[in-house]
């Protein structure tokens, strides 16, 4: 149990970071944006934000953050959003921008990830930006932006589906501290979103 005010750290090398602040603060938690190993130690739970997963991976490699992040993730709750879901997945398939249209695919490529959740995700699974859309999950408006698609799930709890595919999942057992959403609740200015609430709860209980 986290006894003090939970400190939620958003991994801030690239992506939509500050926009989480009002949601987290509305849950009575503290929001930090973190970029370095020293700061990772300060937080009780991590948000891997929306952004570009390839850019984040490149920066993690450049600044040699992999081991320190993996070590922190093993001990603390993590919530991946869109690009963050990709970083958390066990298997990542890469869809290039036109592969949904030309039949040649391009889905055979894979990309490195932390493998925190037993899921297989396909990057840009819906297509390019013109396929981006808003929808309601649990009565809360959310945005799918060049979103990945969770194609397969292992032992996980599916908290929400959209068009048949899981879009909000949580691990089980040891992995119950991990959750992932392929959509963005943080772009909705009704504070806090049910997903932020759920994650702060996870951190409080851990």
């Amino acid at each position: 149990m986290v006894k003090h005010t939970p400190r939620i750290g958003c991994f801030a090398l690239q992506g939509a970071v500050e926009i989480h602040r009002p949601h987290i603060e509305a849950c009575g938690a503290e929001f930090l944006s973190v970029k370095t190993p020293a700061r990772f130690e300060d937080v009780d739970g991590f948000i891997l934000p929306g952004g570009e997963s390839t850019t984040m991976l490149k920066l993690i490699e450049t600044f040699r953050l992999w081991d320190s992040l993996a070590d922190n993730f093993a001990r603390k709750p993590v919530w991946g959003i869109c690009a963050g879901t990709i970083l958390m997945a066990e298997t990542v398939l890469v869809n290039n921008n036109l592969s949904s249209r030309d039949q040649t695919g391009g889905q055979s490529e894979t990309q490195k990830s932390f493998g925190l959740l037993p899921i297989t995700v396909l990057r840009n699974g819906y297509g390019t930006q013109v396929e981006s859309a808003q929808s309601d999950i649990d009565g809360y408006p959310v945005s799918f932006i060049r979103a990945p698609v969770i194609q397969e799930t292992g032992d996980t709890e599916i908290l929400a589906r959209h068009e048949g595919a899981p879009v909000w999942v949580q691990g089980k057992g040891d992995k119950a501290k991990y959750m992932a959403t392929t959509f963005h609740p943080e772009l909705t200015m009704n504070f806090p979103s049910p997903m932020h609430k759920k994650f702060v709860e996870l951190v409080r209980r851990s």
């Binding site: 801030a12 090398l13 690239q14 992506g15 939509a16 970071v17 500050e18 926009i19 009002p22 603060e25 509305a26 970029k35 929306g50 952004g51 570009e52 390839t54 850019t55 490149k58 920066l59 450049t62 600044f63 869109c82 690009a83 890469v94 869809n95 290039n96 921008n97 036109l98 592969s99 249209r101 030309d102 391009g106 990057r123 840009n124 297509g127 390019t128 930006q129 013109v130 981006s132 859309a133 808003q134 408006p141 945005s143 932006i145 060049r146 963005h184 772009l187 909705t188 200015m189 009704n190 504070f191």
Partner: protein
């Protein structure tokens, strides 16, 4: 260290009307949403699929598919148009990150083609030869989001009024000279500070003088910032240039000729990405600057450019 963007704490409620959606003003719309995801990143100009791969490998958050980079457009002269569709598609095929492309100012038919191709963002850009000297594109008509350049607050709000989901400075593209981007960034910051401190009764007159939509000006006064993200573009040629723009309040940077006109594009691209991620840490920016083995593109003094080739003056 003094960082410009920390000028005013953004209050919770102030987010509410950012990039408003027609149906629900509580949700940042999908178009501006993608711009939110590109924050803290580098968008790189590329002219071949090969360069697009280099850019993605170096950590670009998006690429801008072009036939020629701005410095070559300057050299070549003549009319600069939208890139050939087959080139854009080729670049899309090898990229997993968002692909942007430029259309001429006012050329809504070029924009329709780009939307048909399925690019992720359209830049209605002064880098190309304008197709309409009076009217910009009505960007509300499109599903694909638009980014536009601005030199000052009035211009930025006119573009947002027409539906732009992301703004950038105009700078002076293809020069490797940061001076114009800095001028535009500082101008917009100063005008925002002025508006924030105004009495509400003064706003209409200010809207008239600036030629800005009143409602958007009111929103700027409440938010203390533009209602959509603002990136820097035009003349960024070193990691320090990127750090300068970010500290002045840019939320990401576009790098055009700077990368693939340098001696070692791969190293250059990586260094700019690194400096942008840690823009507020001089030790990191220094490290990135030292890693460059080549020298930056030569650059052009703005006063050496003939008037008709001053791209920042295109559009209004």
């Amino acid at each position: 260290m003094y960082i410009y963007r920390k000028q005013k704490p953004v209050n919770k409620e102030s987010f509410i009307s950012m990039g408003r959606d027609q149906d629900s003003n509580k949700v940042i719309n999908i178009k501006t949403g993608l711009a939110e995801m590109l924050k803290g990143g580098v968008i790189m100009d590329v002219v071949t699929a090969e360069q697009a791969k280099v850019a993605e490998q170096a950590g670009a958050v998006a690429v801008m598919a072009l036939e020629r980079v701005p410095s070559d457009i300057r050299k070549a002269g003549g009319v600069a148009r939208m890139s050939p569709p087959e080139l854009i598609e080729e670049i899309m095929k090898v990229s997993s990150i968002p692909v942007m492309a430029k259309c001429r100012i006012g050329h809504f038919a070029e924009a329709q083609l780009l939307q048909q191709i399925g690019v992720d963002y359209i830049d209605e850009s002064e880098v190309l030869t304008p197709a309409d000297e009076e009217y910009h594109i009505n960007k509300h008509d499109f599903k694909v989001p638009f980014v536009c350049g601005a030199k000052n607050l009035g211009e930025a709000l006119r573009r947002i009024g027409e539906g732009a989901a992301l703004m950038r400075t105009k700078g002076e593209p293809g020069t490797g000279n940061i001076v114009e981007a800095v001028r535009h960034m500082r101008m917009i910051n100063a005008q925002i500070r002025k508006v924030v401190n105004m009495d509400e009764s003064e706003l209409m007159t200010e809207a008239r003088d600036m030629g800005a939509p009143f409602e958007l000006l009111k929103m700027v006064r409440e938010l203390g910032k533009l209602p959509v993200p603002n990136f820097a573009a035009g003349g960024i040629a070193t990691p320090a240039d990127a750090a300068l723009c970010m500290q002045l309040g840019a939320e990401s940077v576009f790098v055009g000729s700077g990368i693939f006109k340098s001696d070692n594009p791969e190293k250059f691209a990586r260094a700019i990405v690194k400096a942008t991620a840690h823009y507020d840490d001089p030790a990191m920016v220094l490290e990135a600057s030292k890693e460059l083995e080549g020298v930056a593109m030569r650059g052009t003094e703005i006063s050496e450019i003939d008037e008709p080739m001053l791209m920042a003056n295109r559009g209004w």
